[in-house]
Amino acid sequence: MNLPGNPVADLACEPKGGIVQSRDESPRGAEGAPVSALSAREEMSGMKAAAPRSSMVVEIGGMAIRLRCGDPAFIDWLTSRYAGYVGRSDEASFDFEIELAPAGRESGNEDLSVSWDSGCWLMERGDFRAEWNPSSGRGRVQQAVNPYSLDSVLRIMHTLLLAPKGGFLVHASSAVRNGRAFLFSGVSGAGKTTIASLAPPDAHLLTDEISYVTREDGRYFAVGTPFFGELGRVGENLRAPIECVYLLAKGPENKIESIGGPDALRGLLGNVLFFARDTQSVKLVFDAAFEFVSRVPVRRLTFVPDERVWDWIA
């Protein structure tokens, strides 16, 4: 009689940004003047007609988040950074105020903390500090001027928004081919970016790093994200039903094997992003992953890193 009960997998967590800068307890504007979320908002409303653009909307997976900042140059930069995912200003369901802290104070790679307190989600890492009230839809983030902090805050927000609906973010590249989405999941070095870079012209790349999975009427869809990895390319803003998930491994020949039950769930959970560690949040992620593997095929794809692997993906 075999009675296994040893832990077999830990869940994935957020990778730290390449440039981690310190959180400034007294955030200041780009020119050094003190900035508070409230004063910035009042100023913007009073100068709306004449002032440069003070906000933009980034829409991922149908969820639109308005980002406000007292520094128009940063808004312009965000508009460029999230090109392809810029929504209309009247569509936003959520509103985030960005307070820029001066750069240059390195703090090292501090652990990310996401917690629920007094009706707000609190998110904190060495390079940012954010809070978000889901009831009001409003939040604020204090961060230095860098491309990593806001990406992380957005990813955290989306995981929190997706989980109750049965969706999640997962370390995976993904692409749409013939109207169906394929996910290629694995840890760093497994081949996510490699397989994305080998995609043929008729495959539409959704991301080479973080795939976005939604559940709608019991069906699962992959949608494009602006979160990219080594490929350095924003994914196409498309949405397609998920055909299957491939867990990646590089090997001497191309091979696809079906995976079922615990192996599929273990493989997926090892790559699902989750940040909040409280019991309810972890259960939501586990439930979402379980429902997913119960409905979507999970296969192991061992591949030789050349374009022929895509002959197997259709």
Binding site: N2, P7, L11, L265, S281, V282
Partner: protein, 106 residues
């Protein structure tokens, strides 16, 4: 330890059965456990009311070709291992299921 051993699942864990196998996630440690068919039978019966001896006799020996002594020995080792990980609780008294530690969220 008394011959009577009551076993109870920790209420904070998340568990789903797929086929004959049980998949468990401990939120406290973010650790995933997979139980095979026989272990799943014990897990499902671990309600804090039935003793391990009753579970083995009624659910294991009645279904599988194993002697009661061997089955109980393996079952004890199994529940003690899960108890070390905090996802199962053992007692020589019946165990009432404790409320889980849940944080209210939207």
């Amino acid at each position: 330890m008394s011959d009577k051993q009551y076993v109870s699942r920790d209420p904070s864990v998340a568990a789903h059965q797929l086929g004959d196998e049980m998949m468990i996630l401990s939120p406290a440690s973010s650790t995933f456990y997979a139980l095979d068919e026989v272990a799943t039978v014990i897990w499902n019966a671990a309600d804090g009311v039935a003793t391990l001896e009753e579970i083995v006799a009624g659910k294991i020996c009645a279904k599988y070709d194993v002697t009661p002594e061997a089955a109980l020995k393996d079952a004890r080792a199994f529940v003690e291992r899960l108890a070390e990980h905090g996802i199962l609780h053992l007692s020589d008294q019946p165990l009432a299921e404790a409320p889980g530690s849940r944080t209210e969220q939207p």
